[in-house]
Symmetry: C2
Subunit: 606 residues, 2 copies
């Protein structure tokens, strides 16, 4: 359950909702729906399984209103069909609710308060809307108080962003959140709510934050904020500078290919943003001071961001001499290792909205530990709540499978490690000619993306048929193998695994059959020979082997040769052929490259 | 290339070699071969692809001799056919060589010295034997000097255990090693060499170590040891107490099932070996002192041992308050993170022979850092070379897929953590009633193995058809998921992956299709609800879900309920159904459960 949007006070409500949902589709596309009404008692509910385009096609001209709510779903409870699509509503058809998050105690609430009530869906959301109705109708509470009572009954480990409508107060959006993101958008003569700023960007660039455990009442001409005990709160709005047209895919068949091709430009943009005219990295001294005072860097990330963290950790250790470990957000959130006495937390999140990472950040802030978010989205939740932010400057990433955000994350980590290492007077950092290397890398990326046809042919030859595949490597090449395998999994549905090449023989090599693809990443002098031995072990068992190799380590029969760069920076190049292999495998199978099944771009549930 | 054996001075040579090879089959079974000769110039070479039983069937009565060498192979270079099987020999059929290891610079040696020589196989080993012949025949060197010259030409990153025979000195075994294991066996009136003590146990219990970079000449009545510069060395022999009959599978169809069933007995044996009559754990005070003086424990392991280390790390952190991290041997060997100032190294290896781990231990010993090996094999290489040893007392583990050694490793880690925690006066350790818990666990294991029929039915229903599967869990349940998935991979060839359940949605969930099996391990109070939510997310996408749950967390429709024990010890129970699921899946497919394709029990190459 992932993207929500609401509007009140505008007769273009339906199109405002649809446009907002399209911008939120990265949060899930299992089903979608809207509810709109007006002052005269007309109202309409339309829901469809699948993409927003299905919903849009189902809208007839009579569907219109002055206010409404919309939802695009990533299924957590119940199959992604029309019945389970949002908005959900009470059996008397008075209350309508959209929800992003998970109510952990919904079964218990259902058993305790809603015995005998008939449910149309299997969702936790329907329990909430039926419960509000119950308190209003049976207990004679007013809507606001009923909602407040429900919010207090929801267990604190639950997550939600709610927008509730009551047919009897058609111009009012009742809004609340815990953990899940939600913003108010302040427009001219009308108002909105949405899961992110981008969902409202066509209507306004002025927004207001909502904190956890507040009830916000949004009307066409005013917005009031209350705590659960009734205390009213004032809050300033803020403006965001975003270009809605940057998210256009132009002549590309898919966003993913466009975003792969944008990587050289992103590298150059980062050089421009982060280096001064003396080729020195520019990072806030306060940030460097906070990091220098810490004794251990904990990098927190999920999925691709976790993989980017694995590369970054090596840089902070080698260039700065600061012990650094990398942790999966959802694991770290519920079980920390023994922490050092002066921890510094570095969050990696393309969207800045990853719920698993935010769970960790809440804990970090409770301890007043310093933190940094490296993200692509300014003013995103993780950016607002961390002590420091560094931006990726990668431009909107629309394809679900991350490409340019991964390489931008690595480049920003390198810039930060270089700056911190210099701040700490480390020789390794002073000798690290990063600005020049990033230029070389931008050109190297370009040369790889220019050889698309060769990579397409390899994808077709090695990956079009098998159901499984392996990427192997040692050290930093292993970290890249994890990301490379994830790309292949995400969009081509090949069950790929990234493996430390020395570890394969301790069990997993049993899966190698005749023609199983094994792709080796070989960029490190010290381990190149060992990885080649491991590759031969798989070849002895019939594997179809393929290599991605740095030029100076290349043999005659290697498949993909990448330019030579500093050993710490090879992932910026070695991952690019892997991105293209995944892209062409998916394309060759006729799949929707940008929107793979089951996934959402930004995972805002735990 | 993995198990070697040699004998000189006994007319039962052929059967001694065959019996030795059978005991070495755990090191690989891609192909096997023997070479025998006698004083009168008769000699025989027999090789077959596949198991030792193929070789045995090919032996005719005239194949006999007074001395010989044998080999069972795990293929690293070249496909596992008869041509690539050992022994390899020179083109003039004078020299015969068996080899365990990898010669990294064999291509270079071939190009430099053996231009124009015709090769029968694709192996590195044949290069070595042809090279010895070249130096003897063309350069007129004697055999010993020729071998010494070759040994000096081999690059230091290579690994080998060699046994070489020269037709013109039929009673002599020329033996040398680097990294790969090799022992001399001292018999009555004859002598042997072998990759481990077990391979010679039917003939003797008295052995002599061979160090790296020594040339050892074994004759029927004497053994001489020289360094490469010709210096002679004296060495004492040692005795090993082993029971050759413990490795008999009795009425079981496969060793694996027998070994799964032995786990309760192993738990009881560990209680008996490690606890005194006051229920206090007995661990050498010197070991506890060395650990107490360290500031960080580094656990090193590969495959299943790595997974056991993940469990142990939590125990050392929670019961002792000592920061502990776990590392894959083959990764740590070539790239260490920044180490603490007083590291302590804990090696986990069932066989005590894992080459990847030994590579790390060599480095550790160069720095004089304290170390402990937890192993099933007394006097194994890792046991001899580490500062301390704790034994698993699990009895011989013959099936390639480890079961009782994994649970024994976890139990010994728990005993050590309890002892260390008490030594450090930690409350958590003092309150940890381990002896009683291990008794409960032994009974719990028994109750799970008693319900084999239920688990067989689940394996047949969920796992017999799909090509892929997932195990998911959080925290310690994630660690078990990794091991559970590895079991399934190793013996049933289902591409299984163990996943942190919160991480699945960050990409890998794209692989979930209708009826993909997803097995959740749920034993931890804090995360049980979250894992169930993640399981529902997969069910929404059509997954066939199956649960392994601690009794107090069980719901009505859970599949496998395990008894309640301390949260740190749940892996000892939750892994048992996973072992049985893997076993019955493999059995149902008609596979060789004990000897899965491509694998070897003990991985003695890197």
């Amino acid at each position: 359950m992932c993207g929500i949007v609401g509007v009140t006070g505008n007769d273009r409500s339906v199109s405002i909702l649809i446009d907002g949902l399209k911008r939120l589709e990265y949060r899930g596309y299992d089903s979608a729906g809207i509810y709109v009404n007006d002052e005269k008692g007309h109202d309409y509910l339309v829901k469809r399984s699948g993409r927003i385009s299905n919903l849009e096609a189902a809208l007839t001209p009579e569907v219109k209103g002055l206010a409404g709510i919309g939802h695009t779903r990533w299924a957590t409870h119940g199959v992604p069909n029309e019945t389970n699509a949002h908005p959900h509503y009470s059996n008397d058809e008075r209350f309508y609710l959209v929800h992003n998050g998970v109510i952990e105690n919904y079964q218990q609430l259902k058993e305790e308060y809603l015995k005998g009530v008939e449910f149309k869906s299997q969702t936790d959301t329907e329990v909430i809307v039926q419960l509000v109705d119950k308190f209003v109708v049976d207990y004679k509470m007013d809507t606001k108080d009923a909602l407040l009572k429900v919010l207090r009954l929801i267990s604190p480990d639950s997550s939600y962003a709610f927008a509730l409508m009551d047919r009897e107060q058609p111009d009012t959006l009742f809004v609340a959140k815990n953990k899940s993101p939600l913003l108010v958008g302040l427009c001219q003569g009308y108002n909105m709510v949405g899961s992110d700023a981008m969902s409202m960007i066509d209507e306004t660039n002025e927004f207001m934050e909502i904190n956890d455990h507040e009830l916000v009442i949004v009307k066409p001409d005013n917005v009031t904020i209350e705590e659960f005990d009734g205390t009213e709160k004032k809050r300033d709005s803020f403006k965001v500078d975003m270009d809605p047209s940057a998210a256009d895919k132009g002549t590309y068949p898919f966003y993913m290919l466009k975003e792969i091709d944008e990587q050289p430009a992103v590298m150059r943009k980062l050089v421009q943003e982060y280096f001064d005219s003396d080729d020195q990295p520019q990072v806030s001294e306060k940030l460097l001071q906070a990091m220098a005072e810490s004794d251990h860097i904990y990098i927190i990330g999920a999925g691709t961001s976790y993989h980017a963290g694995l590369i970054g950790a090596r840089m902070f250790e080698k260039l700065c001499g600061v012990p650094t470990t990398v942790h999966i957000s959802s694991e770290f959130a519920y079980e920390q290792p023994l922490l050092s006495s002066k921890p510094f937390f570095l969050f990696l999140s393309q969207s800045g909205e990853t719920a698993d990472s935010r769970e960790v950040l809440v804990h970090v802030n409770e301890h007043n530990w310093p933190s940094l978010t490296i993200t692509n989205v300014d003013k995103s939740t993780l950016s607002r709540e961390a002590t420091f932010t560094l931006l990726l400057y990668a431009g909107p990433e629309i394809a679900v499978a991350s490409t340019k955000a991964y390489t931008a994350q690595i480049a920003v980590e390198a810039i930060l490690a270089k700056a911190l290492g210099e701040y700490l007077s480390r020789d390794a950092a002073q000798n690290f000619d990063l600005k020049h290397q990033l230029g070389t890398i931008a050109n190297g990326m370009q040369s790889i993306t220019d050889s698309k046809e060769d990579i397409e042919a390899l994808a077709s030859r090695y990956l079009s048929k098998p159901r499984n595949a392996f990427y192997i490597g040692r050290g930093i090449d292993w970290s890249v193998s994890l990301e490379a395998a994830l790309k292949l999994k995400e969009i081509s549905y090949v069950q790929a695994e990234g493996f430390a090449s020395g570890e394969l023989k301790h069990g997993t090599i049993a899966l190698i059959e005749n023609q199983t693809p094994v792709i080796a990443v070989i960029t490190q002098d010290r381990t190149a020979g060992l990885t080649r031995s491991n590759l031969e072990e798989t070849q002895s068992r019939g594997a179809a082997v393929l290599t991605i190799v740095s030029r100076h380590l290349a043999h005659e029969d290697d498949n993909i040769i990448i330019p030579d760069v500093d050993e710490l920076l090879t992932p910026l190049l070695s991952v690019v052929p892997a991105q293209l292999l995944a892209y062409y495998t998916s394309l060759g199978k006729g799949l929707d490259v940008d929107k793979p099944r089951n996934l959402a771009k930004s995972v805002t549930v735990q």
